[in-house]
């Protein structure tokens, strides 16, 4: 199976370079249809005391509609004539943007999104990435505007036996099959080394059934697992990380591949997460 439909979340304006690069690469590779989505919500409707003047909301809606139109125009401007089927859907409304994106991406095999750009109020008007990952039922490929670009060269799977990681692994099969090199890494305490080796070799066998050759690595836990994982990823010069994700308290804390880390707040390469 491969990825036939890619959805992009273009809601945050000005952070789409990584999304568009990844989309072009994947659309070309999989001959996929591209569905561009953008949802914006008036902030005043969320962060008000309930007595905000209707006029203010109307003004803000107008501003957001303009912003949406600009995003739409920019999307069409970069589409190469003759490229595979492309579609645009946008919305300015009061529904949480993440749930709108998750619904409209119903036909997508993967959703490509930018990492959240700081600011709590901004978060309210745009898609909350953690909410999107939780609601989508689809893998979300987080593509930063700067840093290592998606190249389908080296993928690192941060393995931890949770339903989320299993999901991430099945969800990423088309991606892993397209990558030249796949490393599955797990971090286990000293007493659990043997079990971790057994577990990870099962994963290697499962991947092999799908024609994915992988390298397996068990790391000993030293306390700072997030940093250890980050080092491995940097040493491998991976261009994409695959992990299961739990999100807690609105992106302030993520559990990724079993370790709490802030990769996703400021990633320097693509991360594919599933919940």
């Amino acid at each position: 199976m491969s990825w036939r439909t890619l959805a992009l979340d273009l809601s945050p304006s000005g952070h789409s370079a990584g999304i568009l690069q990844a989309t072009d690469l994947l659309a070309d590779r999989f001959d996929a249809t591209v569905l561009a989505l953008a949802a914006l919500r008036p902030v005043n409707s969320v962060a008000s005391d309930g007595y905000t003047a209707g006029e203010l909301i109307a003004l803000e809606r107008e501003k957001l509609t303009d912003q949406l139109n600009e995003t739409q125009a920019a999307f069409w401007a970069q589409v190469v004539p003759g490229s595979p089927h492309r579609e645009w859907r946008g919305c300015v409304g009061f529904e949480p943007p993440a749930s709108w994106i998750a619904r409209e991406a119903r036909g997508a095999d993967v959703i490509i999104a930018a990492p959240p750009a700081g600011g709590i109020l901004r978060g309210a008007s745009q898609v909350n990435l953690a909410d999107l990952v939780m609601a989508a039922g689809r893998p979300v490929l987080i593509a930063p505007a700067e840093g290592r670009a998606l190249a389908l060269a080296t993928a690192v799977v941060a393995w931890k036996d949770t339903p989320e990681t299993r999901r991430a692994l099945s969800d990423s099969l088309p991606l892993l099959r397209a990558c030249e090199r796949v490393l599955v890494v797990t971090i286990a305490p000293r007493s659990g080394q043997e079990a971790a080796h057994a577990e990870i070799s099962q994963i290697g066998d499962w991947l092999a059934r799908y024609g994915v050759a992988s390298e397996l690595q068990v790391e000993r836990a030293h306390g700072d697992d997030a940093n250890r994982l980050a080092t491995i990823i940097a040493d491998m010069d991976a261009d994409v990380i695959v992990a299961g994700a739990y999100g807690r308290s609105r992106m302030r804390e993520w559990i990724l591949g079993g370790v709490t880390c802030d990769f996703l707040l400021n990633p320097d390469r693509c991360v594919l997460v599933s919940h």
């Binding site: 999989f30 499962w206 024609g211």
Partner: protein
């Protein structure tokens, strides 16, 4: 809109692709089932699916010894209880293993046996990390968690799609399949999890039992159907208005009318104090004994 799976296959076999990834698995690579001596139909169903998809069959033998009911039990009684219990459990598992080995004969991708004296749902959850599809069926009579892995618990615990076989010796054809659509995470999961079935089916009905605005339901079903078509699935959308029947009854009625023997649906539920609480549609689908149901959570 391109609607041609062959294009992709050709692309993926292009020279720049590595030799190892040239194989194009179009389905489930490993099918997992809990093997019990009194449930030969379940094993037969899992074997048939493994054969159909060219998948490996993973059989699990699992049974736990129930704790002795609290009471004035002495250590001696406890020890005897455990000894007798584990002897019975081991005997059951030996019989299950024999059944499994017979079933694996002639199976293209082979079989793998895993056994453990532990709660079946836990052994199955561990084994499912290397499986793509779980075949389950409701136990005949009341479920006993020390002996049986209930389909609903598996759907929630494993993160894998669970095919629930109806009682009796029914054979799944999956030629006509219904996707019970709702715009939820679980249904979106089910849609992807069931793709190997969909791609082999002669017709797939994307069915939504409409809420207040039927035209919205139509649009959603059409959206899903065209995404499936891009995967080479013969899918057709169908939104029906809510009737006096419950949503679950309506889905079953429409599935009969369509001639389906498989319903694909999201499993709506959560675990609370060790008890699984399910939504109405999921309960309706689990309490009928005529059609196969594929559940994703």
């Amino acid at each position: 809109m391109t609607d041609n799976p062959e294009t992709t296959i050709a692309r993926e076999a292009a020279p720049e692709t590595r030799v190892e990834s040239r194989r194009e698995p179009d389905g489930y690579a490993a099918v997992l089932t809990h093997v019990q001596r009194d449930a030969p139909e379940r094993l037969a169903c899992a074997r048939a699916l493994a054969q159909r998809f060219g998948a490996a069959l993973i059989g699990v033998g699992a049974e736990a010894i129930p704790p002795l009911a609290a009471g004035p039990a002495t250590g001696m009684v406890q020890a005897q209880w455990i000894a007798a219990g584990s002897q019975a459990a081991e005997e059951n598992m030996r019989a299950a293993r024999e059944m499994f080995e017979t079933a694996c004969a002639g199976l293209q991708a082979g079989g793998e046996w895993q056994a453990s004296l532990d709660l079946p749902v836990e052994v199955m959850t561990r084994a499912s990390r290397a499986a793509d599809l779980i075949v389950a069926s409701a136990p005949d009579g009341a479920a006993n968690r020390y002996r049986d892995a209930r389909p609903s618990d598996l759907a929630l615990a494993t993160g894998r799609p669970v095919l629930v076989a109806p009682l009796g010796e029914k054979v799944l054809s999956a030629q006509r399949v219904v996707l019970a659509w709702r715009d939820t995470r679980e249904a979106r999961r089910a849609m992807v999890d069931a793709l190997p079935f969909f791609r082999r089916a002669e017709a797939v009905l994307v069915l939504e039992v409409g809420g207040p605005r039927l035209e919205d339901a139509h649009r959603r079903c059409a959206d899903v159907a065209s995404a499936l078509q891009r995967h080479g699935v013969r899918a057709e959308p169908s939104a029906v208005a809510a009737s006096r029947r419950t949503e679950g009854e309506e889905i079953l009625t429409q599935s009969w009318a369509f001639g389906a023997d498989l319903i694909v649906a999201g499993a709506y539920g959560h675990s609370r104090l060790g008890e699984t609480i399910f939504g109405g549609v999921t309960r309706a689908l689990l309490s009928q004994h005529a059609l196969f149901v594929l559940l994703s959570h």
